[in-house]
Symmetry: C2
Subunit: 466 residues, 2 copies
């Protein structure tokens, strides 16, 4: 079957831009906070809505229950021509919206706000990942509207637990490996270099996420009667956390860096050639110092080096005024971003051993593991990556940069492991999109270029032999 | 006028023990959490109830408004005989009840629970200080019921801000210095040595209470995009807090110990002679190690040495599951117990300077001060202390021990400063009363011996010349 002309596809995209935006707004209105049991019904409703949209486009679509949030799974047979089988991955869950008071408008009431690059779409999940998964859904819609079908077999699978470590992903992939088998996985959950410069992400960091509960006294105590004479869980937890880094900013846990594959000179040179402005990067968030592991630039620290950061800390009295209490228990949530070839379980063990050795004998330590995924890299030279690169150049008029990402997409490693196929990470976010923060946004221009790029990718990949 | 016989007083106390208990239960039912604006009405209602009780006993009683919680102020002229003028101090506010889920019964529904020493009164404020202030109120009631009056002029003043640093106390004492003038102040907000052994507290520690807000990035950030490359307020706050102590457990803030008056040998020897069991003290709260500033025993650390303890710590995500956020801000509440001759303002300055020097230049530090009172000592040889000692020996059949306390009663120092009179600290709490903790209790036997001791004190002091 002949391919539709680029003009015909772009004409449809231009003619339907408001309808495409309204469909994105519809999915953004679901408060699908997958990690929060209070929003389980909202998350399920979001999955059902996506299934209905895919079915309306001619996909055989269904919700697949898991131990946690449901998976959206849909198949399109294509037009019968012998193209490769494409698997598209995205996630419809979003981060919690707190601190809610910092949102200028309600997080689940999407709206357009005028910005320096034109209209921006503001809502929780605008870019991560509802806006981005909608770019390929709308590309399918454009192609089907223009040709009546898709140029090759397409499977879409959208999860609802990406923001909480994807606990149900592995069992799902294992149980549906045959049904999900494809030649490549296409993922849109990453960023561009800037609004005018497309990028393919060739490396992602891994993630381990831990919670530590430290219990000292069997009950809360009066700081006058007991202070200075017994284990204070807050002081003790603060010390243990402080000891996780040395004075220079390195992670002090023995063995933490052992398996780290150093950045090769070529990569460091290519990254330097990007002209990343670290001072502007920190100034954008109100800080004036680049800091972190010594010997590396800010770009290298975020793309190429492992980290250990606290994500939460709580214990004792946090109300108004004063309470002179020594609390019985204190808590911390912490996460590490991993690089090749760090093994998540080894890192978890090393951290737990390090803390256990330094904790007082009468402190009770309880650990919870909320995520454990290794780092992932995508060979830039593989044909689908090259096809994506050509597709991006068609849309943006300049070649795509090969970049890293500090973030983690557990699905990419899991898909390689269980389905044996590589992923192409073609994303349209920008550095200032406030991912995971109040007032998260997605540039409308990036949204529409994303739709164009995905139609161009369909055109490119169908020229590849299986 | 002849004094009532000890037998007549004790007979009244025995005959009215259930009525006395019910009056204590009534005051315990007010959730008078003075530090919490949400309970302002409850706190006011508790003050009104006490005024009504004092008025019913023949006191000229009233509520005196302040900038914060109201003061209860009441005067009884006595029977006209030329005894000393006694001032009684107590506080009707209580600590917050949280963590509420650890209470076996609701904190403001007082009840009797069978214990090893017989019935115990369980409720927030049971011993601190509603149960203790009720011991002298019931002693007045016994004396008045038996003789028709009191043996000397008595002024009672009860505050509602003791648990939050007594911010309105100084202005109140200054404004009412003439009206409050007395020969001695009697305070029941301290403890016994054990249930059979009475004690007079001759030293109290001072208190400074601070909150630190540490702001880093101008907004919450994604730990993948920014982690390891920017200031993390949680990691930074943990480090700054950890640095407040050295590895041995001393406070590391320069100058912190400069003004500390060392314990004299006589005091250390008298305390050693008490045979305090430090191992049992920590075992009682589920710990197996005595720890703190090196070179001092647990008793010396809690009675005679200054401390720095965290009372609260919070920031970032504390919900279920995971959120990979670098929060914009982190908070800590911390307090120091002070000993003579430490000056609260000097200690506050030293801590703030220490933290400021070590904080990153782009961390914004905001401090809140919730209390600043120096340590206090009461000369054991002064005649009213001797009278109290004799009164206690009458009731318990053994001499009162002269002890210290790790706690702080800002009123004692302020009363000395503004009214020029010493205080007698005659209290009936026990070490295991769970002061400031869930399931706070007061032994019924201690409550009733307290009533007896206060009637005996009235008999003793009236034998003293003014």
């Amino acid at each position: 079957m002949p391919q539709p002309s680029r003009d015909a596809l772009n004409a449809w995209i231009d003619a339907n831009r408001d309808a495409s935006l309204e469909r994105l707004f519809a999915v953004l209105r679901f408060p699908s906070i997958g990690t929060d049991p209070a929003h389980a019904r909202d998350t399920r409703a979001c999955a059902d809505w996506l299934v209905a949209e895919l079915a309306a486009m001619g996909f055989a679509a269904r919700v697949v229950p898991t131990g946690g949030q449901p998976m959206v799974l849909a198949h399109h047979p294509g037009d019968g021509s012998d193209g490769p089988h494409l698997l598209y991955y995205g996630h419809y869950d979003v981060q919690p919206a707190d601190p809610i008071e910092l949102w200028e408008t309600p997080p689940f009431e999407p709206r357009l706000v005028e910005g320096p690059h034109g209209d921006r779409i503001v809502a929780r999940g605008a870019v991560d990942d509802k806006g981005q998964l909608t770019t390929f859904l709308e590309a399918f819609r454009a192609w089907i509207a223009t040709t009546g079908s898709l140029p090759c077999p397409v499977t879409v699978f959208l999860e609802g637990e990406e923001e909480s470590g994807s606990p149900s992903l592995e069992p799902f992939l294992e149980a549906h490996a045959e049904e999900l088998r494809a030649d490549v996985c296409v993922v849109s959950d990453t960023g561009m270099w800037d609004i005018a410069t497309p990028a393919l992400t060739t490396r992602l960091r891994g993630l381990v996420y831990l919670q530590l509960d430290l219990e000292g006294p069997s009950r809360d105590l009066h700081s006058g009667m007991y202070g200075g004479a017994v284990l204070n869980p807050l002081n003790t937890l603060a010390r243990l956390i402080a000891e996780l880094h040395d004075d220079e900013g390195r992670v002090a846990v023995p063995g933490f860096y052992d398996a780290v594959r150093d950045l090769d000179t070529a990569t460091r040179q290519q990254w330097r050639s990007l002209g990343f402005d670290g001072a502007a990067f920190v100034a954008d968030v109100g800080l004036n110092a680049e800091r972190g592991e010594p010997g590396w630039s800010t770009l290298e620290r975020t793309w190429g080096r492992p980290t250990l950061d606290l994500n939460g800390l709580w214990g004792g009295y946090s109300g108004d005024g004063s309470k002179t209490v020594i609390p019985s228990i204190a808590h911390a949530k912490l996460s590490c971003r991993l690089v090749a070839d760090q093994q998540p379980d080894a890192v978890i063990d090393a951290i737990q051993d390090f803390v256990a050795e330094r904790a007082p004998a009468d402190a009770k330590l309880t650990w919870h593991v909320f995520g454990a995924e290794p780092a992932m890299s995508v060979p830039a030279e593989q044909p689908f990556a090259q096809a994506a690169s050509r597709a991006l150049e068609h849309v943006f008029g300049k070649p795509a940069l090969m970049i890293g990402s500090g973030g983690s997409i557990p699905a990419v490693a899991a898909i390689k492991r269980h389905l044996g196929c590589d992923s192409v990470l073609m994303g349209f976010g920008l550095a200032d999109d406030r991912v995971h923060s109040p007032n998260e946004k997605f540039e409308r221009r990036c949204f529409e270029n994303g739709i164009r790029a995905h139609t161009a990718l369909l055109a490119e990949v169908t020229t590849l032999a299986r």
